[in-house]
């Protein structure tokens, strides 16, 4: 577990709405600290409905919480809101899966525990440029 104190909190911005799909309590605390102004959903179906009703700036998906349905989740969001970047949080053993998601439209992935600290900067860049920031060379 990464202590939340190590995470640099991003101040919430009123014009920014990042939708976080995460069920694990510990990881949720960490991600909410990293992603300022996050709207967290423990359920992926709830997240899909929230995205449909109001466009977020980005969606951050904890891969462990979709139980093998990550491709369906990604496809549903891409069809409904293709302009919204989707980022995946993966355990090291899930990195091949996360890499595969890039081919299916995910903007980027972050491997726990250390890679996750790129997430705030990535979101910030995306918010500033208005374009999803993708992993170099692996962007869809």
């Amino acid at each position: 577990m990464i202590p939340a104190s190590r995470a640099q909190a991003v101040p919430a911005r009123r014009d920014r709405r990042v939708l976080l799909v995460c069920r694990s309590a510990g990881r949720r605390t960490l991600l909410e600290r990293l992603v300022g102004g996050a709207e967290t959903h423990a359920s992926a179906v709830e997240a899909v409905l929230a995205v449909l009703r109001r466009r977020p700036q980005a969606v951050v998906l904890n891969l462990e919480d979709v139980e093998g349905r990550e491709r369906d989740f990604l496809a549903a969001l891409r069809r409904s809101r293709p302009e919204v970047p989707i980022y995946a949080i993966a355990q090291p053993e899930d990195e091949p899966l996360a890499r595969g998601l890039l081919r299916e439209g995910a903007a980027d992935y972050f491997v726990l525990p250390t890679d996750i600290y790129r997430l705030p900067r990535t979101l910030e860049k995306a918010a500033r440029s208005g374009q999803p920031v993708c992993r170099t060379g692996l962007a869809p």
Binding site: V45, L52, R53, R69
Partner: protein
């Protein structure tokens, strides 16, 4: 196993949009809800969820639908070996749980509204009329949610009473249908929008020369009268569900012939 559901719907002449996962189901339901704002007839009245391969997260669909679209009837379907998933679905908000293809057939019959009583004024007209309703589509996923009224209208029109007694017993015929399954009826607003406006009310018997509607499907155009044996070419219609081979002795007993002493 969704094939059984789709076959049951098709047999009843109803239309449905088919999606492959819970996320698409949410998208479909939300689009239907948005479409309903402009046209109440496009309300999503029933959602059928096949739960055999549902995981823990997938079951969250039930409380979500119950909360967001309380007017929508939620039907869970499971294969015989997946009873526990049916129970889970019921606990989480499913209104109806179907566990066999026989249940599906009964439930599909209950979806077909009975003809209004004599003198009853039909509800508000709904377009398109029954005789122009397109054939139910094949199993292609659709992005259009099936409006209930349209589902009913897509069904073959009821023949007039004089012609009705010429038609063979049809499994989806309201007259031959058993009492409806314990399905929660939609609220009045939905029920009125789903009323079978094109079904002709029961009227005094028409002359025997009256012919059934021209748009009736082949099943409704049978030449056989009730009580009469069907013509030779009609024996082949329908599904063979089994055969019985009789011994000579059983055949004699069946025909009532006395065995020679």
């Amino acid at each position: 196993m969704s094939d059984a559901i789709q076959d049951g719907l098709r047999a009843a002449g109803l239309r449905a949009a088919v999606v492959s996962n819970v996320f698409d189901a949410v998208v479909e339901a939300e689009h239907a809800a948005q479409a309903q704002a402009g046209s109440p007839a496009r309300a999503l009245t029933q959602t059928i969820v096949c739960v055999d391969h549902f995981g823990q997260q997938d079951f969250r669909l039930f409380p979500l639908m119950r909360r967001e679209w309380p007017e929508t009837l939620i039907v869970a379907f499971h294969s015989p070996g997946f009873d526990y998933k049916g129970r889970l679905a019921e606990l989480l908000g499913a209104d109806v749980v179907l566990g066999s293809t026989a249940d599906v057939a009964e439930w599909a019959k209950s979806l077909v509204p009975a003809a209004p009583a004599a003198g009853e004024t039909p509800a508000t007209p709904v377009e398109p009329p029954a005789h122009q309703a397109p054939e139910p589509p094949a199993r292609t996923p659709s992005t259009d949610a099936p409006p209930a009224a349209y589902q009913y209208l897509a069904r073959a029109p009821e023949p007039p009473p004089a012609a009705a007694d010429q038609a063979p017993p049809h499994p989806t015929s309201p007259e031959s249908a058993p009492p409806p399954a314990p399905v929660r009826q939609p609220p009045p607003a939905q029920a009125s929008s789903a009323a079978p406006t094109e079904v002709k009310p029961a009227a005094p018997p028409a002359p025997p020369s009256e012919s059934p509607p021209t748009a009736a499907p082949p099943a409704a155009q049978s030449k056989t009268r009730l009580g009469e044996p069907p013509a030779d070419d009609e024996w082949v219609e329908g599904n063979v569900i089994g055969t019985v081979e009789l011994t000579d002795e059983e055949l004699r007993l069946l025909l009532g012939e006395e065995e020679d002493a």
